[in-house]
Symmetry: C2
Subunit: 359 residues, 2 copies
Amino acid sequence: MTDHDTGTYATRAAALEPINESAEASARAHHDRLTKPRGSLGRLESLGIQLAAISGEDPPPIPTPAAVAVFAADHGVLAEGVTPWPQEVTAQMVANFVAGGAAINVLARQMGATVTVVDVGVATDLDALGIPDVPHLLRRRVRSGTDNLAAGAAMSIEHATAARDVGAAVATQLVEGGARALVTGDMGIGNTTASAAVIAVLTGQPAHKVTGRGTGIDDAMLARKTEVVAQAVARVPAGADAATVLAEVGGLEIAALAGFIVAGASHRVPVVVDGVIAGAGVLAAHADCPAVLPYVLAGHRSTEPGATAVLDHLGLEPVIDLGLRLGEGSGACLALGPLEAAARILREMATFESAGVSE
Amino acid sequence: MTDHDTGTYATRAAALEPINESAEASARAHHDRLTKPRGSLGRLESLGIQLAAISGEDPPPIPTPAAVAVFAADHGVLAEGVTPWPQEVTAQMVANFVAGGAAINVLARQMGATVTVVDVGVATDLDALGIPDVPHLLRRRVRSGTDNLAAGAAMSIEHATAARDVGAAVATQLVEGGARALVTGDMGIGNTTASAAVIAVLTGQPAHKVTGRGTGIDDAMLARKTEVVAQAVARVPAGADAATVLAEVGGLEIAALAGFIVAGASHRVPVVVDGVIAGAGVLAAHADCPAVLPYVLAGHRSTEPGATAVLDHLGLEPVIDLGLRLGEGSGACLALGPLEAAARILREMATFESAGVSE
C-alpha cells in the first residue's frame, strides 16, 4: 500500500469518533490517588486526562515516538510586498530540512521525533537545488504555489481539497509507520499573510487584530500586509465552508495541515499544533469537523497575534510560552516533553496506598 | 574523598566567578547567523546565550546529564496548624523518592536526570520506616527538624550554616560525579510557611502577599499561616544577614538549597530552581552572594504567590508555566527540555552560509 491509498480527507473525517469519556473520568480519579496534593501537577494533570480521553486508555500510552510533518508551499501574495524574504527561501529551507540543519530538525532529534518534509506546493524546482530523493521528503505538489490572493482566489476548490487530501494521507502514513503523536510543521514564505486571512474569516476578527510581523517586518510593510488581508477577507462570501475559505485566501500547506489534523484525530493520536499557520489549519479543520478539537493540543503561544486569536476562539490553552515565532513546528515540538511527562506521571507514579504515604 | 571533604559553603562562595561576557557576546552573534529570522526562537535564544555565559563556551556544552537534589527536612511550625498534612509524610515521601515512585522520579527519569535525596533535617527515624541504605540517599541530618519559628528562632546560626554546607557539598559531589546541570528539589511538610517568612524578609513584601495555600489549605488555615509568617518576620532584625534570616525563620532544606545554588554556580553549571522553597533558597544565596544570579534559571512559575514575589524581586523569567505547585523539583525538571534545546540549537543548527539559504 502506498500512502496515496491511505484514505482521503473525507473518509478520515467520517471516521472521526468522539473522545472516550470513560477513560477521561478514570484518569481524573486516578490522579487523585497519586502521591501528591490534589491538582498540584496543574496542567500535567489535565494533559494526562486529555491523553486518556484521546487514546481511550487509562493510563494513556506514552505519546512517543512523535512525527513532525513540515508542509511546504509558496504564496502568490508575495507580489504584494508583504515580506522581505525572496520566494526561493521556501525551497532552500526544504533543502535545509532534508539535510537536518534547521531548528525543527534539532528539536525533533532531541525529542526522538521524526521529521517528514512534504512539498505540497513549493514554486521552485527542488531538483535544480540538488535536493536528493529521500524517504523523509514526500513530493506531493498539488501546484507550484498559489495565485495572488490579493487579486483573486488563491487556488481552485479542487486544489484546496487535493491539498487537504495530501495532509490526511501523510497523517495516516505516519501513524501507520508507528507515530504515537503528530506535530504540525510548516514552511512557506508569505504564509503568515494567508494564515491571517483564513484566521480573520474563521474567527470574525478584523484584519488588524490578526495580522502580525511574521519573520519580522517594519511598520510600512505591516500596514500593507494588513490592507491585503482586509481586502482579501472582504471577498469571501459570508458562511463560506472551509474548502471555499482555503481556496479563496488560504495556502496549500494550510489546507494540508487541516487534513493532517483531522486524519490524525481520526486515528486517535494527539495532534500537537504549532503557531499561526497551524492555527489557520486548525480553524479550517474545526469549521468542517468540530469533533476534532479535543484531539488537538496547542503546543505553544506564538508571538504572532493571529495565533492568540485562534487559541482564544477555540478555547485552547498553549503548553509552552517562550516567545517563539519561527514556525516549522518548533514550538509544538517543545511541548512534546510535558506531553510525555503527563502520560508517564499516570503510568509510573506511586499511589498513596502503594507507597504507604498518609493521605 | 568523601563528599564531606568537597568544600564548605564559604570556600565555594569565594570561588564564584563572574559569568563569561565574551562567550555570551559570541553566542549572541552566533544566533544571528543561524537559518531563522533573527530573534524568532525567543527564549531559546536567550537561554542559549546564558548557557554560553555560564560555561564560558560558544556553543555551550549540552547541559546533560542533570542531577536533581531533593533536600528533605521537617518544621517545628507544624505546631501552629499551618497544614493539614502530618509530619510523618516528609519521611514517607523520602521513602517514596528512594523507591522511585514520586513525581520527581518520573520526570527525572524522562529527562535522563539522577535524583539524590538528602536528609538534611527530617524529624522521623528513616530506619524505622525501612528505608534502605542506597547511594542516592544521603544521610546528612543536621538536626531533627527545626523549632517552631512562631515561638522563636527556627534553629541556631550554627545549624543554618551547617545545613548550607551540606547543600554546598552535595552540589560539588554531583558536579564531580558528572552532572552538567543541577536542579533544586525539596520536601518538608510545613516548608511553604518557612519559605514565605524568608521571602517576606528578603523581598520586603508583606506576609499576605507571599503566603499561599501550599499543598491546598482552606481560608481559615491560610489566615492563621499568614499571621504566623507576619509575626515571625517582625522578629527578624532589619539588615540581618542571610544566615541569621535562615536561622530565625528558615528551614534546614532552605539553608541547604542556598548552599547548593552557590556551590553549583561556583562550578559554572546552570542551576535550575523550582518553586517557592527554592525561591527562598535563591534569595538567601543571592543576599550573601549576588554574583550567583546569572547562573540561576527559574525552572517554572509555581502558583504559590511567594514564588512570583521571588521572580519579580530578582528579575527572573520562568521557563515553564504549567500551574504546578508540587515542589520536589518537578517544575524545574520540566525546564530541562527547553534548556537542552537551547544548547543544541547553538551546537547543531546550520548557518545561512553553510545551508545556502538567502539571508
